[in-house]
Subunit: 470 residues, 2 copies
């Protein structure tokens, strides 16, 4: 909407400001005004069907999309066809190779004593393997990750560590960072203390039987041990048993393997802008998913939201900046899609980068790392997003695995943060399926992204480079 | 509480009636009065911990308890120890044999075309087996059980029938009867129309990935076909594929077997009464469970609620009638526990029979088939239960698989109906675990049963025999 630049700001008093109470002035300064045409675009996006259609298509016609799998290859072809059908330009696959791809094998576990019961679990990415017949060993219980850290060196020899570290939901998802350590590095720590294997309580906020998959990482020189996540209900049951005071013996079988080189790729599509020198706006989500669910909230919704918003900009007319939508090929196993993108597009001018990878519940907050010279843009964004329930956060934006490699080169960022209160109920579980998507909240996401793109695509400000967020 | 019988009814005006509006008179007649001591017992039960302790113990120390399994045998021993520890008399196992026990095997399924995806399902009890390598066949889709009934004879030859019959929650659980037909008799009907196998949408009200197990039955002379329930999410996904219009091919592997004779047994415990001629009050639930969950709501809660209530009567003093608590050994695969009980106790005078087998959410209604001569007892029950939110239903009581064989001999019944609005979210699934039990609602159940037992144990009325409910 190049016409926006021709309008004098003084004519564009946003109606939402007229009755704003004093305390709101901090987030929506009276000086910031927004073209009513943007409000119209925003509100029209609240009836969007494109995003839901993409999530439904990916979950129904593809399903699970593990990295480097035939399903991921089918997903790329599906993406190309869909993006072309939606009218995007320069639609293509940018292929790259994945090395040493971890592949799930058999995964079973049973308590042998004192109370025989089967357990539901899933191996963590990069887990080592047990012998085919499994391991039978006593359990060493740790109520928290902290307790595991305190275990003396060598104290876990001949044992299966069980870390029952619980996670509570947080709106900003920060508990994933703090409590997720049990998964991210717990297996490595257990290995260094001599453990033969480790099972953790799933990093999740539910109480169900579906275990939460996810990667773990072993430090160089540490031999990976078998590592798995129990469903939260199973971890709670095992914890009750441990607390009854009798020694607990587990039989654990995990037989993952490592495949040699496999093909992956990013799917790229564009809405060409009128001013190539103004830089490209990079947005997207990731096309790959864990294998237990169908990858609806992680992250079909992310590619769907960003694509639906970009299409709305495309259909609304010409804009200054090119919008590039990327369906990144690998996020879950190491962010190799984002790394490949940054390598392929090094040296290109990027005006902004933003990703959607936190489900499809309502966006409640935005944060940026825009410089002082683009302060007015952030102010206009605050005014334009307030009517759909989005507040300006007091922190600094610039998160995301897929766009991370670009952000680290100094590209500025705007984060549109979804509510994380339900996300970790289903994250990486069999339950990540289409029915977890609330169509009304999904539409609010599309409206938020449409609003942001409409402002940024035609902003007169120069936005970067910036100092990357640590 | 034998003292109750010495009090004149006119002295026992229930305070709850004083301000009762006119419309309430139908369910709580002013003439019905209840001993305040019963209200005290009822209200004390709202702090019960015995029931939760039993559910926690059975799910933690035993877990899944399939009929005729070693786990069920361990559960009987656990039950005997627990009932003795609680102070019950005449605690014993009444063993009986189970014939032709269906045993789960491997169970996997994948869509091969047009959109390859794995499916989550579970074989139905009495399902036939596929070859070990599975069946690969086209799907014949039926949106409802009714549509399956309308399929022409022979039209399913060489096909896997897929019945996507949806179930909505009902407070009284009646949708299980109406929509459950797809499981109860759908496989038999599909077999008679030539189907090679059948998959149904789970009979459940959730949208999750945990399939709902359960029995199906084939008519004499009909060879069982492989029959399985897809999780609701998987059925919804498969249905979306079907509606895209391309032929769908499924690969289905089910390898159940049938075991010869296995041992089961009912666990019986008593609170002896002072007047053997007044007849025994038979209450209980079932100890067995399906194998996917740990049998918390189906039916550890049933044995827990009835046992906790009986213990409260025991601890309150002597009563006229003997209360017999039975943890029935087999309900899920044919109600053989109830049949064995009726055979073992034929000829004994039973004053009343009642079971709890519908989870642990709040009791919202009671219904009886008491005769006109015991009308006053039902009126007293209405008065005593109203303060904990229980209304008198307009129907006739007398349901239950476990006590059914006794009811059919003319024993009167009182049904305390739990709300079914959540029950079929988890019924027969992996999700039937301890965390589904709401301790506060469980206590309300104990209070309802304590109240009912207190009234019936010392009631001066003769209650039966009655004409059994059809």
């Amino acid at each position: 909407m190049t016409k926006l630049r021709a309008l004098a700001p003084s004519l564009l008093l946003a109606s939402t400001l007229l009755a704003a109470p004093a305390f709101a002035q901090r987030t929506a300064p009276a000086a910031a005004v927004v073209d009513p045409a943007i409000a119209k675009l925003r509100d029209a996006a609240l009836t969007d069907d494109v995003a839901y259609d993409i999530v439904e298509g990916l979950t129904t016609e593809i399903g699970p999309r593990p990295d480097g799998s035939p399903a991921e290859e089918r997903a790329r072809q599906w993406a190309v066809a869909k993006l072309k059908a939606l009218g995007f330009k320069n639609v293509r696959i940018e292929p790259y190779a994945l090395q040493n791809v971890w592949v799930r094998g058999a995964e079973t576990a049973e308590i042998l004593s004192p109370y025989p019961q089967p357990l539901r679990l899933t191996a963590l990415g990069n887990s080592g393997a047990t012998p085919p017949e499994g391991l039978t060993l006593p359990v060493a219980y740790f109520a928290s990750f902290n307790d595991l850290l305190l275990a003396p060196a060598g104290s876990l020899t001949g044992k299966i560590a069980f870390v029952s570290n619980a996670m509570q939901p947080t709106q900003d998802g920060s508990s994933y960072g703090s409590q997720g350590a049990a998964r991210f590095v717990g297996p490595n720590i257990a290995a260094t203390k001599g453990a033969a294997a480790i099972v953790i309580r799933s990093i999740g906020t539910d109480h169900g039987r579906g275990p939460h998959a996810g990667n773990t990482n072993f430090a160089p020189g540490v031999t990976p041990i078998p590592a798995a996540a129990l469903s939260v209900a199973d971890a709670e049951n095992l914890e009750r048993m441990v607390k009854l005071g009798k020694p607990v013996t587990l039989h654990l079988t995990l037989t993952p393997t490592v495949a040699p080189t496999r093909l992956s790729g990013n799917v790229v599509a564009e809405v060409p802008g009128t001013d190539p020198a103004a830089g490209t706006i990079l947005i997207g989500g990731h096309l790959d998913s864990w294998d237990l669910g169908t990858g609806a909230i992680d992250d079909a919704s992310g590619v769907a939201i960003t694509t639906a918003a970009a299409k709305r900009l495309m259909d609304a007319g010409k804009h200054r900046r090119t919008i590039r939508v990327v369906w990144f090929g690998d996020e879950e196993t190491g962010g190799f899609g984002g790394i490949a993108y940054a390598k392929a597009h090094a040296g290109e001018v990027h005006a902004l980068a933003a990703e959607s990878d936190f489900g499809a519940d309502r966006v409640w907050r935005f944060e940026t790392n825009l410089p002082e010279t683009a302060k007015s843009l952030a102010d206009r964004l605050a005014v334009a997003l307030a009517p759909i329930g989005i507040v300006r956060g007091s922190g600094v934006g610039g998160d995301g695995t897929d766009v991370g490699p670009m952000l680290r080169t100094g590209v500025p960022a705007i984060d549109l943060n979804q509510s994380g209160l339900r996300y970790f109920d289903w994250h990486h579980t069999p339950e990540d399926t289409l029915d977890r998507i609330d169509p009304e909240q999904l539409r609010q996401n599309v409206a938020a992204w449409t609003t942001m793109l409409a402002l940024v695509a035609d902003a007169p400000e120069t936005m970067g480079p910036v100092t990357p967020k640590k």
